[in-house]
């Protein structure tokens, strides 16, 4: 067994999220991973070299956001010419919020955009230099329903009547294999349903149902075929009807139920709806921000994809309409809101932002967890779940050692 002489860090005076509970215990980190201290103690006679006093706080895995279109003025679908700069700065900004891993999300776009940006949105380790870890892109559309396009540009939407070939033509299958974590599609759109198992087999990506008018029967079939996630539950899908609850109805399935993203900014989904959905299927809830480029920017006018949007009073609308164009809540805020809306426990709220997204992506042995061997992406939180300290790969993140900038904005006319 190789012996590492790297320093061992011990977090003490804290409650750790472990086995679905908060336990008073120590957390040990070495070489960017969470380690089994007993092993180090007995086999190598090691005691901690660095001790971090958490002052009675809660120690949680870092947050994971699987739906984020941009932030700090940057947008992954629109800033194609400066995509590297966008990724670098957003990753660092997110890290400073306590989000230690994320899926950069692209809205429905034309094939040339995917060719340009996907290579930059592929998996990348989190660190002080890189910022938050990138878990692969979330390509939301263009294989979605025009009836539920939300803020997506209709001209980009398409069907998959040629099956896999259409996906190849749009994204490039190699891009899907290498750079994409999951894709949002509408299963009722032509050619999509049968493509689900083919896509999974050819590329290994995860499939999510969303921006869809699917009936319950269609939603069930998609789920059976391998669509294990639902994109922003309640938004851009058929409303709940008692005899045909659509995609939402999947949360009431008696056998297996999918994961589901849910936006807890209090705007996209009414707090009561969050509560109903959560208690229908608590272990599937994934808190997402669906943040757009205006996140963490002051009020004003910005671009999302190719659309102009209006940010005021914490709301983001397509300019001149009442259509919500995305959110600007941070994931840390969503976690706190979630508890307010549902009365759920801190453990449940934290798992919705860590464990469940990691499980959905199939990476729960190394992300979203504090078990031995996991990446040491750690948050120290107070009892109101305010983020106090952030660690990525075992290194503490501060404004002094992670520097980034907002995108320089061109003035957009108010009318």
């Amino acid at each position: 067994m190789s012996k590492s002489t790297s320093p061992i860090t011990q977090f003490y005076n804290c409650r750790i999220l472990r086995d679905h509970k908060l336990v008073e215990d120590y957390l040990y980190v070495q070489d960017g991973k969470i380690i089994d201290p007993a092993k180090m103690f007995w086999e190598e006679n090691r005691v901690p070299d660095v001790r971090i006093d958490c002052k009675g706080g809660i120690v949680s895995p870092g947050y994971i956001d699987v739906q984020l279109n941009g932030a700090y003025g940057f947008d992954f679908s629109n800033d194609t010419e400066i995509i590297q700069e966008a990724v670098d700065n957003v990753s660092k900004g997110l890290l400073l919020q306590g989000c230690t891993a994320y899926c950069p999300t692209t809205v429905s776009s034309r094939p040339d955009v995917y060719r340009k940006v996907l290579p930059y949105l592929g998996p990348r380790e989190g660190s002080l230099e890189n910022g938050a870890a990138i878990l692969g892109a979330h390509v939301e559309g263009p294989f979605i329903s025009p009836l539920k396009k939300g803020a997506h540009e209709e001209a980009t939407l398409r069907t998959a009547k040629n099956g896999l070939a259409d996906f190849d033509e749009c994204y490039g299958l190699d891009n899907l294999r290498k750079n994409v974590a999951y894709v949002t599609m509408a299963p009722e759109v032509e050619g999509i349903m049968d493509s689900i198992p083919e896509l999974i087999e050819a590329t290994g990506i995860n499939i999510s149902s969303g921006h869809s008018n699917a009936s319950t029967a269609q939603a069930n079939e998609a789920h059976k075929k391998g669509a294990k996630m639902v994109t922003h539950l309640f938004n851009a899908m058929a409303a709940f009807h008692q005899r045909d609850p659509g995609i939402i109805g999947l949360l009431g399935a008696s056998e297996s139920r999918p994961f589901y993203g849910i936006i807890c900014d209090g705007i996209h989904v009414h707090p009561h709806s969050v509560m109903i959905a959560y208690y229908a299927h608590p272990t599937g809830a994934c808190l997402v921000t669906d943040a757009m480029s205006a996140q963490c920017l002051p009020e004003g006018y910005y671009k999302l994809g190719k659309m102009d949007v209006d940010v005021h009073n914490g709301h983001v609308y397509i300019k001149g309409t009442n259509t919500i164009a995305g959110s600007i809540a941070t994931l840390a805020q969503c976690v706190r809101n979630f508890i307010k809306f549902t009365g759920a426990s801190k453990v449940e709220a934290l798992e919705n932002a860590t464990l469940h997204p990691a499980q959905m992506l199939g990476i729960a042995e190394r992300k979203g967890t504090l078990q031995f061997g996991a990446d040491a992406d750690v948050l120290v939180l107070d009892d109101n779940l305010n983020v106090e300290r952030i660690f990525v790969g075992g290194n503490e993140v501060t404004e002094d050692n992670v520097k980034f900038h907002h995108k320089v904005q061109k003035e957009v006319a108010a009318n």
Binding site: Y26, A38, F41, N45, R46, V47
Partner: protein
């Protein structure tokens, strides 16, 4: 005892340590003392009394895991100062031999902390163990296996049947033995070991032969003792506090500076009637300590307790009790 000993690297304080539910609380307090800065373990050496055979060290029920979880992970005890029996050694007999040699090398055990099994065993020295035994492999008694099943999901089949254990002789060889015995389920064993003869069927009974042994127990553990026995041990402690003053009694029970004890008796305490026959936990019974005066004077480090007796009961300069003291005999 550790602080009184003032251990150094060249003269460390060597302890024998047990596992079980009673020691968990003791260790909790030790950890607390360490966290408060009152106690350091950096010059303490520990020997654990026993370990299961065949259980991987990483198993949550191994005694290594127990000690790490409850004590070692929380204090400044150095890993190289920790001695554990290796239940997975190729040659178990050689391992036991090695352990005894390690104890000798560090100069023997200063204080052996232990408990008692429901069948009166110390460590895994089950009934029938030789009272002169050394560290060796033992087959566990059925009662012990049953008692331990609760840590293995209630399944007796999962409990290891063999263990390495220090011998009764190993414990006796320690310079001081301290047993903590609490709970009604230990009452029969305590009675057998204290009131009856030294017997290999109740191996803890060897404390009767140890020059410096103390048993700390709670009221429940005394349930099977004769009333006379319980009263006697309680009275020793009360006499000591009342007449001599706790500050003049060393940790090992020896009395120093008797003459100053008469003069410096604590007057500012509530009258004895106020605190009597207390039925609380952690009542201490001193065993044999007052009969064995150590030849070395033990300096007293205990601070005067808040509830010292008043000197309404007079004490003459020669230490004898006045009739006032014996008259209103509170016992």
């Amino acid at each position: 005892r550790i602080n009184e000993f003032k251990p150094t690297r060249k003269r460390p304080f060597v302890m024998g340590l047990p596992t079980g539910s009673t020691p968990v609380e003791v260790y909790w307090h030790l950890v607390d003392f360490y966290k408060q800065g009152i106690l350091s373990f950096k010059n303490v050496i520990t020997f654990s009394m026993d370990e299961y055979v065949g259980l991987p060290r990483s198993h949550p029920e191994s005694y290594c895991s127990f000690m790490y979880r409850h004590l070692y992970d929380h204090i400044d005890l150095k890993p190289e100062n920790i001695y554990m029996l290796d239940g997975n050694a190729e040659d178990l007999a050689a391992e036991c031999q090695r352990y005894e040699e390690c104890i000798k090398e560090v100069g023997g055990i200063e204080l052996f902390l232990g408990g008692i099994g429901p069948d009166g065993h110390i460590a895994f020295n089950e009934p029938g163990s030789s009272l002169e035994s050394v560290t060796r492999v033992k087959t566990l008694a059925y009662e012990t296996v049953l008692a331990n099943a609760r840590f293995f999901g209630g399944d007796v089949n999962k409990v290891p049947k063999l263990a390495l254990t220090v011998g009764v002789g190993t414990v006796r060889a320690a310079r001081e033995v301290l047993l903590i015995i609490t709970g009604a389920h230990k009452a029969v064993a305590l009675a057998k070991c204290i009131e009856e003869g030294v017997n290999h069927m109740w191996t803890v009974s060897v404390v009767q032969l140890h020059p410096s042994a103390m048993v700390v127990c709670d009221e429940d553990a005394t349930l099977e003792l004769h009333v006379k026995t319980v009263r006697y041990f309680k009275s020793i402690e009360q006499v000591q506090e009342q007449l001599i003053g706790r500050q003049n009694i060393g940790l090992k029970g020896s009395i120093s500076k008797l003459s100053s004890a008469n003069a410096n008796h604590q007057p500012d305490a509530p009258p004895p009637a106020a605190e009597k026959q207390i039925a609380d936990d952690n009542d201490e019974s001193s065993d044999e300590s007052s009969e064995e005066e150590d030849s070395k004077t033990a300096s007293s480090t205990a601070a005067p307790p808040a509830g010292s007796r008043s000197n309404e009961h007079g004490v003459r300069s020669n230490g004898a009790l006045t009739s006032a003291a014996t008259a209103g005999n509170p016992f």
